[in-house]
Each structure stands twice: as structure tokens, then as C-alpha cells.
């Protein structure tokens, strides 16, 4: 960690070159946070599409409410300022208006609640999934495995340090040495648990965030539209390296995924590109169990 601290000061320079280098990889699409962005990351799944839609609908309503309140307040402050209106009225009741400002918010909330419920059930009720991945949170890395494929061993996904990330042309604090590999256009069930502290497996562009709780196996799902590399970060405080356990998912074609499984689950491209001596790699993990 000390080494990383020392190196970080040079970080500001690396970004643009990093994106350029990223395009040289086999997967040219990389989805993660964007510089100076003020909105969601690019959606990669139907659930995230719906999530953004519901958010936008609520956002329009609340923006209207805020503007309404602000304009009304400004109007009141101007019209009823002391110099303009020296004699105050005595009104302190008006049943009709009190009913209106109770009922109108209720109607707005019903309008919000209906699509919100649709989204919630779509997100939470798993469809017929085609395959399963198991995600185990560990302090401070992720363990990935495929319960469907017994030949593929569980592996550790460690973060790349700054030098390594620059070397492979991926963003530091998002890139890992061994991403989770899943096929495109496939409904994937995700089982999430932890073997020590709580963590949370979050992939913003998928609309997925599921806590990894020891002793409990949570499930969620996603179906990614396009091949590419998608990033996420641990989203439940888990100790000193909470910020240093990124999530990287490589979405490949179904054929490539079949080859990947047949080859024993070695994430080939990434490791070839990364010829430094990283710790985890796609190595089989015996520890931590």
C-alpha cells in the first residue's frame, strides 16, 4: 500500500492515455464512471434501462415540485415583504387548500409507486436464468466460481495496482487481474455471499447491487446487451481496503465463453496482456476456505 501511496501523485496524467490504450484491448467497450459525469453510467441491462426510466420519471416530478415551491416562495417573499404589505392578514385556516396539499402529493406518490413497483419486482424476481455465477466477498478481493461447471475452479479477483493498471490500459481502482467472465445476452443468476466481513457486489451499469453477508446467500440477476468490460466497486464498508476491491466483469460472446469454460476457466486475453508478476491471476484458490 505504501508503494501505491507514493505513486498516486502521478495519477492525474494517466487518464486519457489509459482510454486510448484501452481501445487496443480485445474488448473495446469499457463501461465505468466517466470524468465529470453528472448522470448514471451507461446502461448495459434491461433492468438498468428500467431503473433509469423510473429515476427520470421521479426526477421530473421532484424537479417540478422544487421549482413550484421555489417560485411560490420567491413570489411570496416579493409580494408580501414588509415594505409592500405592512399590514398582515389574519388567515390561519383554509380547509380546502389543506385538503388539496394533502391529496395532490398522495396522487403524485401513487403515480411514482406504480412504475417503481414494476421495476422492483422485475429486478428482484429472478426470471428463468440460463446459468449461475457465485460471488464471494473476501477482505479484500472477490472470489468467483461457476457452480454449473465443476471443472472450473474458484479464482480470486484482485485489484491491479497503479503500475499494472497503466500497463494493461485499464483504470486504476476499477481494474482487476482476473475479471468475472460471463456470456453476452444470457440471463445470469448471481449468488452473493461473504466469508468474513460484509461486502456489497455492485455493478452500476447493470443496475445490480447485492450485499455479501456471511452466512447468507443472496441472489440477483442480469442480462448484458453487449460485449465489453464493465466495472463496479465494493459498496458496503468492509475495512481498511474497502476502496481497493474493485469488480471487473468481462462480457464475451457465447462462443468465446464456451471456449473459456472448455479451457478450464482461464481468462486468457487479460492475463496475456498482463505479463507482470501479479499475485492472484486466474490461479486456483485454496486459501480462504
Amino acid at each position: 500500500m505504501r508503494a501505491i501511496n507514493a505513486m498516486l501523485s502521478t495519477m492525474g496524467v494517466g487518464v486519457l492515455s489509459l482510454m486510448a490504450a484501452g481501445s487496443a484491448l480485445a474488448q473495446d467497450k469499457q463501461v465505468g464512471p466517466e470524468s465529470g459525469a453528472w448522470f448514471f453510467q451507461e446502461s448495459a441491462t434491461p433492468v438498468m434501462d428500467d431503473l433509469i426510466w423510473v429515476h427520470n420519471m421521479v426526477q421530473i416530478i421532484i424537479t417540478a415540485i422544487v421549482i413550484f415551491v421555489m417560485v411560490l416562495m420567491a413570489y411570496i417573499l416579493i409580494r408580501f415583504r414588509e415594505s409592500k404589505n405592512p399590514v398582515p392578514s389574519k388567515t390561519s385556516h383554509n380547509t380546502l387548500i389543506e385538503i388539496i396539499w394533502t391529496v395532490v402529493p398522495v396522487i403524485l406518490l401513487v403515480i411514482i409507486a406504480i412504475p417503481s413497483m414494476n421495476l422492483l419486482y422485475k429486478q428482484d424476481r429472478l426470471p428463468e436464468t440460463e446459468m449461475t455465477v457465485k460471488v464471494v466477498g473476501n477482505t479484500w478481493n472477490w472470489l468467483y466460481s461457476y457452480p454449473d461447471y465443476e471443472d472450473v475452479n474458484e479464482w480470486v479477483s484482485n485489484p491491479l495496482d497503479e503500475t499494472q493498471a497503466t500497463e494493461v490500459g485499464q483504470p486504476y481502482l476499477l481494474a482487476t487481474d482476473a475479471p468475472l467472465v460471463v456470456p453476452v445476452g444470457t440471463k445470469v443468476k448471481v449468488l452473493v455471499t461473504s466469508i468474513n466481513n460484509m461486502h456489497s457486489w455492485a455493478v452500476p451499469s447493470f443496475g445490480v447491487k447485492m450485499d455479501a453477508v456471511p452466512g447468507i446467500i443472496n441472489e440477483t440477476w442480469f442480462e448484458v446487451y453487449e460485449e465489453g468490460t464493465y466495472y463496479g466497486q465494493c459498496s458496503e464498508i468492509c475495512g481498511i481496503r474497502h476502496y481497493y476491491m474493485p469488480i471487473e466483469i468481462k462480457v464475451v460472446s457465447k462462443q468465446e465463453f464456451a471456449r473459456f469454460i472448455a479451457g478450464g476457466g482461464q481468462p486468457v486475453d487479460k492475463l496475456a496482456a498482463l505479463n507482470t508478476n501479479t499475485t492472484g491471476g486466474a490461479a486456483v484458490v485454496a486459501a480462504n476456505e
Binding site: S35, F39, K90, L119, L173, Y244
Partner: protein, 561 residues
Amino acid sequence: MVAIHGENIPVTHDHDEKPAFFERWFYSTNHKDIGTLYLIFGIISGLIGGFLSFMMRMELAAPGIDIFTNEHTYLVFVTMHGLIMIFFMVMPALIGGFGNWFIPIMIGAPDMAFPRMNNLSFWLLPVALICLMVSFFVPGAASGNGFGGAWVMYPPLSTTGSPGPAFDFIIIGLLAAGFSSIFGAINFITTILNMRAPGMTMHKMPLFAWSVLVTAFLLLLALPVLAAALFMLLTDRIEGGTAFFDPARGGDPQMFQHLFWFFGHPEVYIMILPAFGIISHIISTFSKKPIFGYLGMAYAMVAIGVVGFVVWAHHMYTIGMDVNVKAYFVLATLVIAVPTGVKVFSWLATMWGGSIRFTVPMMWALGFIFLFVIGGVTGVVLANAGVDTALHDTYYVVAHFHYVLSMGAVFGIFAGWYYWFGKMFGFHYSGFWSRLHFWLFFVGVNVIFFPQHFLGLNAMPRRYIDYPVEFEFWNQISSYGAWITLASVAVFFIMLLEAFFMRNKRRVGDNYWGEGATTLEWTISSPPPYHQFSILPRIDHGDTDTHEEVDEAYARKEGDV
């Protein structure tokens, strides 16, 4: 709101001899002195908590780990900032400070029901704060001193993840603070229910008294749950002890989250309700109008308090609850928007037709409404469990709750401070410095927290010491805001010093806000006598919600003096 019969305005000067310094401030049983102690304590805690957050903002100003030498220390700062601001700044200032000062006066009582318990309530707090400060400097986790598990204290991070004594000190400190609040709550409930002056019915009681009454019930019901959860953590932490939250031995870590948030959600209303009460008084005073829809306002707070107890799991949408349970919590949470809306619209309606003066407390109150509305509507976004999946534990949540706390509760505190400053201390502050304080603080906190919505939407997680470089831009802006806010804190102290040195030139009368200030504290001197209301004031039984009668009451009173 109430008219006072002039002949009953008490003559109190005979009981005004004050005890010697040590006896007065350390053995104190006087509600006003204890209120002052609470306010001073709140200011000190606010400085500590503010320092912690300033250091966090400086660290986050640029990617990389620049200021902290140990990542653990950053998490300790995050944790302690939350705990200190909540338990040692907002609660002592709003409930202990203004509550103690003005609840007895507003309801026409000579003091609190249990003055000695009041003393205990206060003096438990410095003990608690000392425990928390000690925890900074004793081993927490293997990685360093102090406890870095955030104010939510989720196990296993707070049990096996933090084996050192640092967290034990926090538990003891929070238990002390919790008992302090429970004693305070018992005191307020008893005082408000039993010690109202003749004629002061519940439905004539000022809204600040209503807000503190509801808050006291929330404290009384919520804090024992926190105390229980903390005890369970404590025994879980003992080697070979209990296993309430240890899954390896049949425990359930999610259960702690349910217990914590069963306390934690009412806690956010504990922090904001007294501010609601203060804002109502200020809006009414400076519009020179009685509060609009008084009963609706009072029962909206009761409704917020009641519903506040059945929405806790909206803090836990991602822990893997059944979808039907989540659906329930979404709907219950959305319901809270209704009474909250009633309050905002009633404040606007109070101003409508009024004769509005832009005094310093009024500016804070208007700022409160402006920012509380923004913080409130992002709460409506977060209430939707589906959308919250993307926003949970991101900076969007940080922005949301700082808009309602750092700008809601804190604006309420400053509004009350500037509203009652003259009443408490007997002299006024400088208009220039107090306005400068307002504008710097207003701009500063907005610059800090508004960009954090964008960070959260783009999915920057909370409690990160370092972040991908893409998040730099808004973090940088946010950290500039911290400098502006720091300047406002400096101006606040300049304002205090200046006011203190100019005190003899700025003496204020009983009712220095004039016509609109109608509650009982404006009928006694500024500062009030050491013991007020030796003869209880009698409150008129008629419908006194009109200005003529209030004016008449004042006319009678002035004629009498």
C-alpha cells in the same frame, strides 16, 4: 397564538440571586443554565466533527492518498464525524440546548419537571464524548487506532473485524449518551404533559413544544433498542461470548441492521423535528401572522413520528430482503412525504399575506425550507427500492442526508440561535457578521453537497479514501465548498466575539422582535430572570389566534409594567 393576562405577568426579581460559579455551572439544576451548557457543548462537538469532515474533504479533493498516512484513520474520521455530529452536536443543541432553554418558558413552567435528572442528562454527555475521544487513540483494528466501521457499526466488521478496545469505548460512550437522551426524554415528556400553565391546553401549546414532545417520545422508544443492540455487540465481542450476530455460531448479522435502523430511522426525525418547531416560530414571527394550519402542523409531526417507526428497512434495501417486504417499505416510506409536504406548504401559507421581515433568523429559516425541500425530494427518489439499488451507499445518499441534516437540522440550529440569541444573552449580534455567516455557510454547504448528487448517480461509493480518477472533477468542487464553509465557521466566531464585546451597546428588551413574537418567552425579560414564573401565567381560553387579541394582550401587559 396565546394571549396573556397582564395582571399575571410574574414579578420575579426577588428570586434572582444566582449561585457561585462552580455551584451554578457544575451542580446546575436550572433549565436555562443547563440549556446554555448544552449549547456550548454542541458548539465544541460541532468543531470537532467539523474538523473531521474538513480533513475528509481535503483528502478527497484529488485522487490518491495525500493527507492520511493510514487508510484506517480515514475510516475512523468517517465514523467519528457521523457519531459526533449526531449524538454530540445536533441532538444536544436542538433538544438539550433550545429544548431546555425554551420548553419550560413556552409552556409557562418555572423549570423542568426533574431538575436534578436534567443535570445528570447533561453531565453524562461530556463523559460520553471523552469515551469517544479516547477511542481515537487506542487500538481498533490490526491496521490502526480507533474504530473504522462507520457510524452504523455493522457486524462482523464491528465484532471480529475490530478486535481492539477502541470500539468498546465507543459502545460505552454511546450507551452513556443514550441514557442521557432517555433521561432528557422522560424529563421533557413529564414537563410538557404536567407542567403547562393554567389555560395552556395541548392545542394551544407552541409548535416547538409539540416538536420536542414528539421527539421525546421517539427518543424514549428508539434509544432502548440501540442500547440493546450495543449491549449485544459488546457481549458478541467477548472472546467466546454470545453469538447474536455471528453466523458461524447460528447468529444473524442482518439482525443487527434491523435493530440499528429501528433506532436509526426515528433518529433522523429526532434530529429534524425540533428544527421544524423552531422554523415554525420564526416564520410566524417574521410574517407577523399566526402559524397557518396549527393543528395540521402539530399532527403532521405526530404522523411523521409514528410512520417514522415503520420504515426502517429502507436503509437496507440491498441486504437481500424478500421483495414483498421491500415493496412494503417503499410504500410506507413514500407516505412520509405527505405530512412533510403539509409542513412545507403550511410554512408557505403562513408567509402568504404576511408582512415579511428579512431578519437573520428569517434568512436561516427560508434557507432551511429551500434546502430541506431539495433534500426531501431526493428522499423520494431513494425511497424507491428499485432506484435505490443504483444509489444505495453512493454519494447520492451522502448528498441527500446532508441536505436534510447539514442543511436542515443545522440551519434549524442556527435559525434558533439567531432568533433567541438576544433572549438568552440579553444583547444582540452584529447584522453584518451574522448575515455574512449565513451567506458563506449557505453557499459553502451547497457547493459541498450539490455535486455529490452527481458523484452518486455516477456511482461513487461512500466511505472511500481514494477513487478512480473519473470522479475527480466533482470531488474537487465539493472540496472547494469545504473551504467556504470553514470561512463561515470563522465568521461565526468573529460574530460571537464582536457581539460579546459590543454587548453593552446592544442591550435588547423583552420582545425585541415585536409584534409577531407571541410565545411566552417574549413576555419575560432578556435574559430571563434566574427563576421565571414564580406565579404561573394564565393563558386565555378564548380563540386567541387573531392579532387584535394578541396585540391587546401586549397592550395590557405594557400598560401594566
